[in-house]
Symmetry: C2
Subunit: 400 residues, 2 copies
Amino acid sequence: MIQIAVMGYGTIGSGVVEVLEINRDSIARRAGEEIAVKYVLDLRDFPDDPIQKKIVHDYQEIVKDPQVRIVVETMGGVEPAYTFVRAMLQAGKHVTTSNKALVAEKGAELIALAREKNVNFMFEASVGGGIPIIRSLNSCLTADEVEEITGIVNGTTNYMLTRMSEEGMEFGDVLREAQAKGYAEKDPTADVKGYDACRKIAILTSLVCRQQVDFEDIHTEGITNISAVDIRYAKAMGRRIKLLAASRKVEDGYVALVAPCMLDASHPLYNVNDVFNAIFVHGNVLGDAMFYGSGAGKLPTASAVVADVVEMAKHLDVNIAVDWSLGKLELVDHRRLRSRFFVRTAADRDAVGQAFGTVEFVTVEGITDECGFLTQEMSGTEYEERAEKLGGILQMIRVQ
Amino acid sequence: MIQIAVMGYGTIGSGVVEVLEINRDSIARRAGEEIAVKYVLDLRDFPDDPIQKKIVHDYQEIVKDPQVRIVVETMGGVEPAYTFVRAMLQAGKHVTTSNKALVAEKGAELIALAREKNVNFMFEASVGGGIPIIRSLNSCLTADEVEEITGIVNGTTNYMLTRMSEEGMEFGDVLREAQAKGYAEKDPTADVKGYDACRKIAILTSLVCRQQVDFEDIHTEGITNISAVDIRYAKAMGRRIKLLAASRKVEDGYVALVAPCMLDASHPLYNVNDVFNAIFVHGNVLGDAMFYGSGAGKLPTASAVVADVVEMAKHLDVNIAVDWSLGKLELVDHRRLRSRFFVRTAADRDAVGQAFGTVEFVTVEGITDECGFLTQEMSGTEYEERAEKLGGILQMIRVQ
């Protein structure tokens, strides 16, 4: 029997305990031994929950118990998770986490520490919830150079954009609805401003380029300025607006970007709706691939955490190499990326033509006091120059 | 340096050699050592190809060379691939294959032999080409009980159905076009009759239920009787016809089936077009997930083979457990599956009502000499009874 500890008995932590119970037998068969939860670390007590008898309030109790070989961290946030996880690795325990903030900031360091201690630090659940994208990048797509990763990695904003698209609702209304349904938090900043997606693409990009990508370096736009009018333009073009977190290999490095983007119906991510997540990957020999699933939620995320527990149980004395070094990667300026741009401006068509040359004008019934158009493909830098020349810009959304 | 041999220098085999060349450095880094092709086994000679100096005609040369630790089998067909692969495993060499016929028929036996010899037998490329579905089932979704797998796993038929849907073409015309483009073979039987998809779902089902599922036991319908008229009905309902290979856990076992199916726009597989493949998986805790990519083609398939080579290079002295025993699983009768059915009949609406009760009639402009309708959900057995009562059945397609 392998004893484990769970740090943080919130949504994901309690989901981990539940999944270990629901699929006890098949998990034991795959892990080679039964997995038993010995401790649950939480500040709170749960007097009406059978878990109470496993609750501890001091992480040192877990650190000091040599019976605990594997620790699950589902507390969220960088501190005190970082201190606790470090201590567990130092004590020779394997750790898996669902905590994207911790992984984005301290991933490389914790991977190095795990290697030093001949244990594993895993984080499948930190990106894409139940979608096995981390293990796919580390263990499956090993014959490829990954040249592009583009993901819908935030369920809250994807739900909101889907509702705005289906119902013609405004951002504020759909946010209130999402909060009422529990799909958005009371303080939705991290989701709607793109900060959550930013940390996730930082993790994925670090794994692809095998160096530390600091999330602060990634140009990040959220969906707060996406309006019902934008959605109407998108529909008129047969497109959908999605919040994409993307990174791309360019000649001299990598570009990363989080921004709303217009996709046409032929793009594999076009049909990823509601709270679902999906990650599109282009490999230099594999070509296009996509991984789709529940990007959040108690059980799907816990499923990914427990899959890490099984993997670690099978490798109790083996460090599985993860290629993510502490050396920092300087990203290439995102304005180097070439795309088409959808623009709304208060300027007239003549002015648009003078600034942008040949464009494709888009008309939407009932919208007459502005001018919407699609540019030719150009770099972000070129777009900015031309937009400044034009003036009166009301909105710009990249097109893929 | 790790020496390998490639058996079969056809499309996939030469793709493997090419991928090892294209991504030599990154593959070496991930494998821990450089991978070098020492032999290529083929009956033919390739006098104008630099590969000629590695060509051998007798597999025993490879068997007898202890320097060769890993062997790639890309010959196709059960024999002589089976004899060769067995000999390689017996000699303590790891083997990866892209050969679905071999894996479907002899997978359990070769896995057992590999375990006995403490080497690995891997077959990522045998299903879904470059899509890492085998490794996902074996190593990623380990916290779940997989309750359903539904795949578009044959690129040829998916291309044909896409073209029929887009262009209103008839089966025969689109087959000729697919053959001209190299998407269908001169003898297209294995693809269009569903035999290829059948072997693939046999492999996936075996991995899920951990027992041997004989492909001969799987009820298999191809797409040869799908007509332009069927496509017009599907369109009238906002649906698409896809050849699905599916297996589902039921109360007392597993059901497996290969058949054309009508999907509506909300199904994750609805938008999988052209030669792309995708595999939808439902896990009891994960919920819905989907894996999408190039299901065939030289480099994508070779990418999956080489990923196996990397995995084996990292586990030269370790057998990675694969849970697929020799014990045969008796499948549950596919007629137990419940679904709605789309039916075309020469009978009139009154007769339809008498046989099937409440149905949804479907009308297509210009089609007046027959009656198309959607049944309520029922079992396949119930459908058959009612269809016999009705008579004059022109077509039946399951609906998901």
